[in-house]
Each structure stands twice: as C-alpha cells, then as structure tokens.
Symmetry: C2
Subunit: 404 residues, 2 copies
C-alpha cells in the first residue's frame, strides 16, 4: 500500500462531531493498509476569534506575535484529531510545524517553505502510526513560529507530499472538486475530472477559490498529484496532474468571472521608450496590484495604456497616474469602474486554433461589447461591462460545451 | 535596576481588558528600568474548554496529545500580552516553553523541569525587551511538548527566576497574599508579611491554595524570594523567604482545616515487626494517598494503627485493609468519615516549647474532642469531628493571636 497525504480544511474539522467523521474516514484508509500523513487546519472560526482578540489589544500587531497566536488554532486541531483516532483504535501522533521542522524563511505571516525534515515522520510511519501535522505553520532557523499565509494548509500538505514522495495529496474541502465555472453562477457547471497544473494555476490566480496558486506551483514543481474532493461524501473529486498525463487536451477547461476590478486608461501619451516602465514602477511602489495591461498605438504616434486594478485601489491609482502625467506633460486619464473580467483557460489552446474567435463570437451573438482583450498561451481574458458578466459567462461556458 | 520575574495567573489574564491591565502594570516596572521576564497562564476558562473538547472525542486521551492541546492556552496568552505591551510602547517578545528550552523529562502532564537555557532570554533582555514566557509547559529532549501539572505556571516562574538568578519572583494572583488561615472561614484572618519556605511548604501541602508545594521547593532550593500578591491592586503581598532572613520566628504562622479526609483504624493486630510496612505497601500499590499515620500499643501487646485517607478512597482502603487482616488472621477495622484535620504550622515551634499544649488547651476550652494527634518539627495536626471544624479553627487561630 502507498503513502497518502490528506489535508482537511477548517470546515471539515469545524466541531468535535466533524472531527469524528474525519477520523472515521482516515480509519478506512488506515485499515486498507495505507501509510497516512494528515494535515489539518484550525477548527472553523477559531482563527477569526483569535484575530478579534488580537484586534482588541493592538490594531497593528507584530506579525511574529500574530503567528504565535494563530498557529495555536492548528495545534488544537492536531491534538483533537489524534485523540479521536486513538479512540477508534488507530494509532496516531500529532506534530506541530516546528516538530517536523517545516523550515521557512523569516517572513512572518507569509513565510515560504525552505525545507522539510522527514526523519520523524518516516519513523512514526514505520511504527504504523498516522501522522497528524499542523498545517499553515512552520519555524524559521531560530525556532520562531511562522505561518504561510493564504492557502497555507494546502501548501503544507503538498510540500509534505513532495518531501515524502507521496503519489497523491488529497485536499478535502467542502466542495466536490474544481468546476468548469462557479456553479452558483452557472447551474450547468460541471465538475472537472482531470486538470493540469498550468490550467489549475491560471484558474487559482483568477480566484477559483478551491486551491491556492502557491500549492499548485509546488505540486507542479515536484509532480505531486492533487486530488481535490469533499470530506462530506465519497465521490471522486478533481485530479490536478502533469500536462502529459492528460489524454484529452480540451481547448477550454474552465471559465471564470471577476467583478471586483476597475479599468484605468492613460490616454494620449507620447510613444517613448521607458514611459510604460516608469508608470508601472510607480504603481508597484504604491503597492497597487495591476492585473491586465494592454497598450495600443493611436494616431500621431501617441499611445494609450489600459490596465486593470482592484476596484479598491482606484483612488490611489488615479493619484499616481495623475502625477505621472503631470511630470510627463500631458495626457488624460479615463477610469471605468463598472467592469467585469471574463477568462477562458485551457491547455488545448496551445494547439487548437480559433479559440479566441469562438469566444468573441459567443459574446457578439449575445450583444456583449468587449472593452479590452488580453491573451496568454493558455488563457484568453476579456473586459466587459459588469452588467453583462453573468450572461457572458453562460454564453462562453455553453460555446465551449463545458456543461456537457 | 534588577531583573524581576512576574507570573500572572489565568484570572489575571482572563479577558482582553485584564490583559491590558497586566500590560500597564508591566509598563510601570519597565519604565522604572527593570528587566522583566513575565510568565503567563492560559486565559480564564480556556483550559476547561479544551478539556471538554478532548473529552467529547476520547474519554481517556493520551497524555502526550493532551499536552499538545493544553499548551495552546498559554501560547495564546503570551502572544496577546506581547501585542498589548507593544501597543503601549513596551517592546516585548513571546516565547513558548520549547523556545526557551524549558527542558523536562518525558512524564507528560506532570513533567519535571531538568534544565532551562537562558541564552535567548538574556539576549532579548539585553535588547531591553520584556520576555513573555508561556507557563506550565516545556519540551522533552525529543521536542515533544510537555506540561508540568498542577501549579505548573508558578513552577515555570520560580524555575526561570532561579535560572536567571533573579532576586525576586512575583506571583500575581486574585488574592492579596498568604493568610494566617482561610479568611472565608475566619474573618479575623490576617495577611502574612513574611513566611519561610518550610512553613509555606507545609501550608501548601495542607492545601492552602495560593502556592503549590513544587514551586516552593524549587524556590527554597535556589533561594528565590517569592512575592505572592494581587494583580488587582498595588498592595504588598506575602514574601516567601529563607528561614534565616525572618526576624520574628513565631510559634504558629498559620492554621489550616481540611474536611475531606476519613480516618481508618485497624485495631487489635499483633505487635510484629513489618506488619505496618506490609499494610502501607499494599495501600500504596492501590494508589491510596495516606496522610497522617499514628500507631499505639494496646493491651496484651496488640496494636492499633490509625491513618487518614481522602474520603473518596474509603472504599478501596477498606478492601485493602480487609484482605490484609484476613491474611494476618484477626483484627478489626473502624472507619470514621466525619472528621476534620486541623493543623498549626510555624518555624518557631523548633524553639518555642508548649505550642502543642497551648493548642490542645484551646480546643479543650471549647469542648472539642481530639481523636488523633500527629506532630512534626514545625507542624501539629489533630483530627477532630467534622462539625467542630470551624469552631476549632477559630479557637486555635485566636489562641495564637494570629488575627492581631
């Protein structure tokens, strides 16, 4: 039997009854003879409660102390799950991030894993114990507790799977898997059976919430197969796999819609080298997260640069752009907040031609106007009016027959 | 300015407002130029909540996992207190038991401290940071988290004070100090200003709740002065000091009353060497906590052995004693559950004569019958009827003028 790494999120271990259910699922695997490393998150709303207490004491707590505080959430979960397993006859042992030496850099609250020492895990696995590891946390070289930031527990699980050379890393969550699009928006959305790392990365970056892009990156780097599935049933979920193990390379694997961006256009600027670099360096220094960038040349050798930023950054972006134009001497700014960005992602775009055309056609048929277009090797993104968002999503989802 | 170790119990850090109050007290000391090491317990009822969750999953959880679970309580406290200090301009850094290497043996839930590495604390103190250390917890040589059992946070504080050669260890609690007797039972009870280790040890063993005997033992061994005081006011509390630094060695320092014991008498047994050893070995093997033991020789060379045990152990004690008598061939058992044990403790007994006489006289004057007597160098204990307990306590407290 093989080694399986499983990760259970906060909802799956939300209370003692759910912890019992998770223990029973683990027992099933254990009884089949598998070696098991289990990664758990903090129980349900524990983290929120800890954050509230911290906020009552210090509006701006030091990240180091925040990490000491938050890491207790996962520590509670590992101990309780080990007890629950022990009670149903499954030998188990818990480990904090520090105890299995998930060594990270010193960037508190968003640390990066540098190394994992698997000695102790392998020893416990050799004694046929289920190893329960606290997700989301590690230690730096000076034994300070660090946390890994958003999606941290997934990352812990994938990194452990890589370090232990596990064939598969099961990520248990409260949905059945990764869908062709958000089922709450498009009822015909279908669960994806296989998706490759590149596709999943694009979808994750576009905010398809199930997996965080960092864990997909690590999985891709070490060839760990991720199985995203629900802890509330036994249905097979979505397998995230290397590109070459996918038989059917469809043109479009999934479609996403984001409605929280704004479009900024800086119009009528001279076509001089270095101007774009200057603008985006200023925006970066102001900590503005620029997403799409499109530049087009207008008449008289004057340029237009359009880009999207989070709607919450519009004010600062306008200030930075204004001062940029003032120093440049000229140009105007146009801001459109009422936009949505629609993306189609698929590894098959590399070889299939006509994907962009088919997408634009589907939108045109529905009288949806395209404001911006940006394409990458496996992604096509368009900016449209926000009110057209839902309709456009449905149209593109149907055009590529994703609901079938 | 000197190094001060302070320990704040669970009530003192019971909620975020109380944590703020503790932070302000620490700031006062910090601003005076003191170096500070602060030991904190888990917030108020945190431990109970964790124990309840564990109980819902496993009626008999492994002590190792219980320690992983419970140690999170103190970890939450240290982070929050560090944040609260930081917010009022006091640089602070938190440490778990493991991070300052409070090295213990492997006896989970009742571990003993073996060593403390003060390197990291000294370094942080050198940077003028307040060091906040999680009480009650340590690690064994394999990085497993251990806890120190009852009174564990006091023990952490005293051990840290010893390791750092601090002059004083302040134990903040919800009472003003150590009293001549329980003020809830005797309103004229007075706070003791100075008490020596030996006296405090006897009082602690007799259940005078403020300090646990283990921390007094360590303080005594390393000459650490303990200052027991309230975190809710600025009143001086009780100083626990070496015998030779106490000027006034009173005959009786304090009086205690326990009402949860039972007296067992094994009557009419032969006066043969080894019989008592046999009986008490059997009781020890049955895990019965025997307190007082009195043996007297009766007529015809037959003996009576009387002893006290916790009232909850009466059933088992009777069984063990019965089988002892059966094998011996003879003797009877008498059980009296309705008893109280009254003790007077004072280092002055070593030199003052007549203390026992004065005590018995006070009881006789109040028509209180004495059932058993046991004396040590600095303690006299009598067993009386439970219903006489309160009256006897008052009488003895008054006889030695402790309320003055």
């Amino acid at each position: 039997m093989s080694l399986v790494v499983q990760k259970y999120g906060g909802t799956s271990v939300g209370d003692t009854d759910r912890i019992k259910r998770v223990a029973n699922r683990i027992k099933m695997y254990y009884d089949q003879g598998h070696d098991l490393v289990i990664v758990v998150s903090a129980m349900g709303h524990t983290t929120d409660q800890l954050v509230d207490m911290a906020a009552a004491l210090n509006p701006n707590p030091k990240p180091r102390e925040m990490d000491v505080l938050l890491s207790t959430g996962e520590q509670v979960s590992i101990a309780l799950l080990a007890m629950a397993l022990d009670h149903i006859g499954v030998p188990a042992i818990s480990f904090t991030g520090g105890q299995v030496r998930i060594l990270t850099d010193k960037k508190h609250s968003k640390a990066r894993i540098q190394d994992i020492d698997t000695t102790r895990l392998k020893q416990s696995l050799g004694e046929r114990k289920v190893c329960i590891v606290a997700g989301f946390q590690g230690v730096d070289e000076d034994e300070n507790i660090t946390t890994l930031g958003r999606g941290g527990s997934d990352l812990s699980a994938v990194a452990l799977a890589a370090a232990l050379e596990a064939k598969e890393c099961e990520i248990y969550t409260d949905v059945d898997g990764v869908y062709t699009t958000d089922p709450n928006k498009v009822p015909s959305a279908k669960k994806i059976e296989h998706i490759c790392y590149e596709e999943m990365l694009e979808l994750a970056r576009l905010g398809a919430g199930v997996l965080h892009s960092r864990s997909v990156e690590v999985a891709s780097k070490y060839g760990v197969v991720i199985h995203v599935r629900s802890s509330f049933n036994n249905v097979e979920g979505t397998l995230v796999v290397p590109e070459d193990s996918i038989m059917e390379k469809v043109a479009v694997r999934g479609v996403t819609l984001k409605s929280d961006d704004a479009r900024i256009s800086v119009l009528d600027i001279p076509d001089r080298p270095g101007l774009a670099a200057d603008l985006f360096n200023r925006l970066a220094r102001a900590d503005i997260n620029v997403d799409m960038i499109v530049q087009s040349t207008g008449k008289d050798g004057r340029n237009t640069i359009s880009f999207t930023v989070p709607a919450t950054s519009v004010g600062v972006t306008r200030e930075v752009s204004d001062s940029f134009l003032k120093e440049m001497g000229g140009g105007t700014i146009d801001v459109q907040e009422n936009i949505a960005t629609l993306s189609a992602v698929g590894i098959g775009m590399k070889s299939h031609s006509g994907v962009a055309g088919a997408m634009f056609e589907a939108l045109a048929k529905n009288n949806i106007n395209i404001e911006m277009i940006s394409t990458s090797e496996i992604k096509i993104t368009v900016v449209i009016n926000k009110e057209d968002g839902r309709k456009a999503l449905e149209a593109v989802h149907e055009a590529f027959e994703l609901g079938k």
